[in-house]
Each structure stands twice: as structure tokens, then as C-alpha cells.
């Protein structure tokens, strides 16, 4: 049996029997085959000694049970690691940060406490998935939608806590920003409600974020100050009409002007989420055109920008294509589309056209035809196109995301491409980034310029190289002023290390809070790069 860190076997056995008394034996998972279901299927440390496999997992159903678990954990100083639906794939999944820590699986806490489609909010427990929430709204004919990420089996609570993003209007796309009110079990087992929730009987738990006094909700995101058992969210009313347009331009540099215009349109709420991409990338699963691919390394191993541009012009392939959704009533959608079209006329050679349009409510047939279901809050699993087979027989075993935030600026994006390409050239690896790699535009006032490293469940050497490349990327990105917004447990210390202004004052401040609030260091040690005092001291002594 893997033991929790710093816990004697005899104490752990006593604690397990206490957990079983609280939850029932069937909700305490101690058999190896059950515990192994809490591995991170996409771990870049798979089958290595450091792989973060828990000792056991416990699955409470109520907040009172969570409190009891935390009290037992305090008694024996057993580190706990909460997960919601455990589907944070590419960023850690259902595994703890550190091998041996006990997973608190909140999947059974799946109450939809309230959904209001007049005041446009909901209150949920962590085990509710986006699929569950969508079904509830559709079954009850509610006129609201939740901004959702990929994939649909994720948790609104867990996703928001991990700073996840989505696909509608900017203010809803920021899932942590769209949350309102929390209930948290603190490291001493007490229950706290934040914002308006601190007022007993408050009627605006999920409507007014701030309540009175200091705003503390941020402490519970990507961190380890408590176990969040309920959260409120602001919801978007369903629009009457939705249309998807496509903008194409011919030249690489066009992206500079395109970003400027799109920033204006987005920040003015004229358009929703702009999906940037380049048609020079082949459709999913198809290989890149060999001529084009050869230009990626034809200038002493680096891309020949002129040849790539000429190839695009010669073959009449747009260099960029942006999908642009517009919401509203039909007249407003058309009027906004006309305005958007006019704004882009200043880019020579640009084309703007309607791709598809729908009046709501949608029929099943409409939904099946929708190009971007997520942009109307319809959950699905199509993100898995990413790493399943294309026309090759060597699929990935999963992926690890590298997700730095860069300015929402075309020039900076082009610089970022060059910098990434140089790094991979130095590492002697094929660059996953090309001169037509696109930014991710979920962050409504920034871009994420991410890439995915394919991990392996059979090749440890491959994973070691992946980790080295990832760590190099963190360093180089930081040197350029770009910092990751999210990372898998393997890399969370590395990411936090580069947020180092004034001798790591942010981390030191947070560590002070950690020591005060969780002196036994029992909640998710290491989550978000925050370690309790005894673990920090052990690390200084060369152990972890």
C-alpha cells in the first residue's frame, strides 16, 4: 500500500476505519485496482516512482461528510486532495499533486441546488457536470445557458476553480470570473460561505459577488485553502438568434490589423468568441501538404516565411480564418454583421461571409449541424478529435497542455511563433508551432498561445524528453513576459517559480496564509505550487 506522506501505517489504518464509519465502506476505495483509477491517465510520469498515485480515495456525498473527513485528516495529519468530476485531463485529471495523498472524490456531490432563468444564475455542487447541467436546463425548458469548456463531462465548479475558460461572451467565458458565491470546508473542518453567503439567509448568494469586506474567493482557485462544496454562477440568457460568420485574409501580417479590430468588436460586445486559425493547417487527421511542410524547415532547418506565403497565395489558401459568432435577435445579428463586414474592408483581400445561422430554440437537427456547439453552451466531447487517430495508426496516449498567456496583439503573436520555433530548433525537436500557428482566444483580454505535448503510457524516455522541453518552454516564455495560466501537477512548482517578482513575494505571502489557515498542511499540498511549512522545509533539506 502507498502511504500518505508523513503518516504511520497504524495511524492510517485507524483513519481508514474512521473514514469507513463516516462514508460507508463502499465509498472508501482502498483496493489497489480501485485506487489506480485515480491515476492521471495523461500523466507525463506514468509508471515512474514519482507518479502521483493516491494511497486511497474517499467519496463523500454531503458537506457534513466532507467536514468529518477533514477532522479525521487533521487528527492524523493526513494530506487530502479534492477533485470534482476528476476530468481535468491534460492538467492532472483525478490524481493528487503528490504520490500518497488521499483523494477526496466529490463526484457524488452532484446536486443542482438552484437555477433561475429570470435572474440568470445557478448554484451547483462540485460533482455536477456540464452535461448534467445542460440536461437539467433543457428538461425544465429554462431560458439560460452556461458558458462551457471542452469536454462536457467536466465540472463547472472544478473548471472555474482551475481558471477554465469557454466560448460565448467574454464575461461568461472567464469561468472563475463568472462564479458568484462559494461554500468552503476549511482546513479545520469549519464551513464558510463567501460574499453575500456570509449573511445567513442571504437571497443573493449567486448574484452579488462581493458581500462586505475583503473578497477571499480567489484564495480557493488553483490552490489548497479548503474544499469547495458549492458555487454560484452567473448565466447567460439564450439569445433569440445566432449566426456564425467567417473572415479570411491573405497575408501573415494581416493578423496584426485583424486582432486590433476583433479586440474592439469583442470588448464592445458586438461579437462573441473569435476562433482564430489558419487554413494552411490540414483538416483534423489529414497530413500537411508535403510541399508546404518542406518549407517549415527549408531555411537552414527553420521556416521560410516567403515560401510559405507564396504557397498560400499561389494555391489561393487564406493565411488566416476567423470564425465569428454574433448573438442577438435576428435584426440585431444582421445589423452587427454588416458593421463587422465594413470594419474589415480596410484589410486588402479580406472576405467575410455567413457560415450558418439558427433561430432559437434549436431543434436536434440544428444542434447536429452546428459547427461550434460550445458557442451556444451545448456540451460535447468533440475536443477528443485532438488526440485520437487521424489517418495514422499511432495515436497519442493523451496530452499535456503548455498554456502561457500572451498579449492580445498580432505582432506579439508572430514574435511568439518565432521564439517557440527557435526553442524547438535548439532542442533538436520537430516544432509543433509553425508560422501559421494560431492563438487561443478564450481569455477575453489576452491570448493563450498553447501547445500540447503528447505523453506516452509506455515510453518513459519519451516522457522524460517531454518534461525537459516543457520546462525549457516555461523558462523561455517567462523571459519574454509570458506566464502559464494553468499546468499539470508535474509542472506547477516550475510555473510558480517564474512568478518571481520581488523575490517571490506572491508565493511567500500565500505561504504565510497557508501556514495560518492550514497549519497541519492537510489540504492538497503542492497544488498551485503552494506547500505547507513542513514540506517546504523538507524540500530545502533535499527531499519532497
Amino acid at each position: 500500500m502507498i502511504l500518505p506522506n508523513g503518516v504511520k501505517e497504524s495511524d492510517f489504518k485507524t483513519a481508514i476505519s474512521k473514514f469507513e464509519n463516516i462514508l460507508g465502506k463502499e465509498n472508501v476505495f482502498t483496493d489497489e485496482k480501485d485506487v489506480f483509477l485515480y491515476r492521471d491517465a495523461y500523466s507525463s510520469e506514468w509508471n515512474e516512482e514519482s507518479e502521483p498515485i493516491p494511497s486511497i480515495a474517499v467519496a463523500p456525498k454531503t458537506v457534513e461528510e466532507v467536514q468529518e473527513i477533514v477532522k479525521v485528516a487533521n487528527e492524523f495529519k493526513i494530506p487530502l486532495f479534492p477533485i470534482s468530476t476528476g476530468k481535468n485531463l491534460g492538467y492532472g485529471s483525478s490524481a493528487p499533486n503528490r504520490r500518497g495523498d488521499v483523494v477526496v472524490d466529490l463526484k457524488r456531490m452532484n446536486k443542482i441546488i438552484e437555477v433561475d432563468d429570470k435572474r440568470n444564475f445557478c448554484i451547483l455542487e462540485p460533482g455536477v457536470s456540464y452535461f448534467d447541467f445542460y440536461k437539467y436546463c433543457e428538461d425544465n425548458n429554462l431560458n439560460v445557458m452556461m458558458d462551457i469548456p471542452d469536454p462536457g463531462w467536466g465540472s463547472p465548479v472544478g473548471n472555474a476553480l482551475d481558471h477554465g475558460w469557454g466560448y460565448t461572451y467574454g464575461m461568461y467565458r472567464d469561468h472563475f470570473g463568472a462564479h458568484c458565491g462559494m461554500e468552503v470546508v476549511l482546513p479545520n473542518g469549519e464551513v464558510m460561505r463567501t460574499g453575500m453567503g456570509a449573511l445567513p439567509g442571504a437571497k443573493t448568494f449567486a448574484e452579488n459577488k462581493y458581500g462586505y469586506g475583503a473578497y477571499v474567493d480567489g484564495l480557493f482557485a488553483q490552490s489548497n485553502f479548503g474544499i469547495v462544496t458549492k458555487m454560484g454562477f452567473w448565466l447567460m440568457p439564450k439569445p433569440e438568434y445566432y449566426a456564425l460568420y467567417s473572415l479570411t485574409t491573405k497575408r501573415r501580417e494581416d493578423i496584426i490589423k485583424m486582432v486590433e479590430i476583433l479586440n474592439y468588436l469583442e470588448d464592445s460586445f458586438i461579437i462573441g468568441w473569435p476562433l482564430y486559425r489558419s487554413p494552411l493547417n490540414p483538416p483534423h487527421g489529414k497530413p500537411m501538404n508535403p510541399e508546404l511542410e518542406s518549407y517549415l524547415t527549408s531555411k537552414n532547418g527553420k521556416p521560410d516565411l516567403e515560401k510559405i506565403q507564396n504557397y498560400a497565395l499561389k494555391n489561393k489558401i487564406p493565411y488566416w480564418q476567423i470564425d465569428i459568432p454574433i448573438y442577438g435577435n435576428k435584426e440585431a445579428v444582421y445589423a452587427n454583421a454588416k458593421y463587422v463586414e465594413n470594419r474589415f474592408k480596410e484589410i486588402d483581400g479580406s472576405e467575410f461571409k455567413l457560415v450558418q445561422e439558427f433561430a432559437l430554440p434549436l431543434s436536434k437537427e440544428d444542434i447536429s449541424k452546428m459547427k461550434h456547439k460550445v458557442s451556444l453552451g451545448i456540451p460535447n466531447m468533440e475536443i477528443f478529435w485532438l488526440s485520437t487517430r487521424g489517418e495514422v495508426l499511432e495515436p497519442q496516449d493523451g496530452h499535456v497542455w503548455f498554456s502561457p498567456i500572451i498579449p492580445r496583439d498580432g505582432k506579439e503573436l508572430l514574435k511568439c511563433q518565432d521564439v517557440y520555433i527557435d526553442v524547438f530548433h535548439e532542442l533538436g525537436m520537430k516544432s509543433p508551432i509553425t508560422p501559421f500557428a494560431h492563438p487561443r482566444s478564450w481569455m477575453y483580454h489576452a491570448f493563450c498561445f498553447m501547445l500540447n505535448f503528447g505523453n506516452s503510457r509506455t515510453d518513459i524516455e519519451h516522457n522524460k524528453k517531454l518534461r525537459a522541453a516543457y520546462r525549457k518552454m516555461i523558462e523561455v516564455a517567462a523571459e519574454n513576459g509570458w506566464g502559464d495560466y494553468r499546468a499539470a501537477p508535474t509542472f506547477q512548482d516550475d510555473v510558480y517559480n517564474v512568478y518571481s517578482f520581488n523575490n517571490h513575494i506572491l508565493r511567500r505571502f500565500v505561504e504565510n496564509l497557508k501556514d495560518a489557515i492550514d497549519p497541519n498542511g492537510i489540504i492538497a499540498p503542492g497544488r498551485g505550487g503552494i506547500w505547507p511549512k513542513h514540506a517546504r522545509e523538507a524540500k530545502k533539506g533535499g527531499t519532497k
Binding site: L37, S94, K111, E125, S387, T388, V392
Partner: protein, 116 residues
């Protein structure tokens, strides 16, 4: 004295009921859990293994027409194979925990897919 006890009990019930009513967070409806094999398949598997979905497309490439790529069209699936993939995963398909598909649900899923 009996009456006083009754009154205290009555007041106690009223106060307790009020405390619950006032607390908007005390209610709640569990997200509907799938029960039958078909419901479990539709909830957990269909979003990837339905027609024209990523899992189906992946299996199309693998089987090259030698087997149907949609799991519900397979005639050769046996319970052991279904259990293996649910608990082990394969490539980008992760494995499922018992808080997601418990042993009883897995039996229903195995029976459903083996009978197709």
C-alpha cells in the same frame, strides 16, 4: 407542564423549519444518474463512440472496415472486453472511476453492449 413541553417542541419545529426555508442552499436535486445499460452507454460512451464521433472515427481507422466502428453495432463484444476498456482506458480514452461507473452500472453496460 405537558402543555409547556408541547409548546417548546412546537416552537422548536417552527424554528427548525424556518432555518431550512431561509437557507437557499439547503435544497437541491441530484443530477439524474443513468440506470439502465443503455442509459449508461448514452451518458458515458455515446459522446465519443456515437456515429461520427472521435472514438468512432479512431476505430474506423483502426479496423479499416473489418469491424463496425460504432460500439452499438458490434456483434463480437464480450463483457470482459467492455470491462477492460472501461477500467484501463486506451490511448486518449481515460479509465473510469467507480464514482462514475460503479460495479453494478458496469454490469449493466457490459450486458447492454454484449447483447447488441
Amino acid at each position: 407542564m405537558r402543555n409547556l413541553t408541547k409548546t417548546i417542541l412546537f416552537l422548536g419545529v417552527i424554528c427548525f423549519a424556518n432555518a431550512n426555508e431561509k437557507d437557499i442552499l439547503s435544497g437541491g436535486k441530484n443530477a439524474k444518474a443513468p440506470k439502465t445499460g443503455e442509459e449508461i452507454y448514452n451518458y458515458w460512451c455515446l459522446p465519443c463512440h456515437g456515429a461520427n464521433k472521435p472514438g468512432t472515427k479512431a476505430l474506423e481507422v483502426l479496423y479499416q472496415g473489418s469491424l463496425p466502428a460504432e460500439l452499438t453495432k458490434r456483434e463480437d463484444l464480450v463483457p470482459e472486453v467492455v470491462e477492460f476498456y472501461v477500467r484501463e482506458g486506451k490511448h486518449s480514452m481515460p479509465f473510469f472511476r467507480k464514482t462514475e461507473i460503479n460495479d453494478k452500472d458496469l454490469e449493466s453496460l457490459k450486458a447492454y453492449l454484449s447483447k447488441q
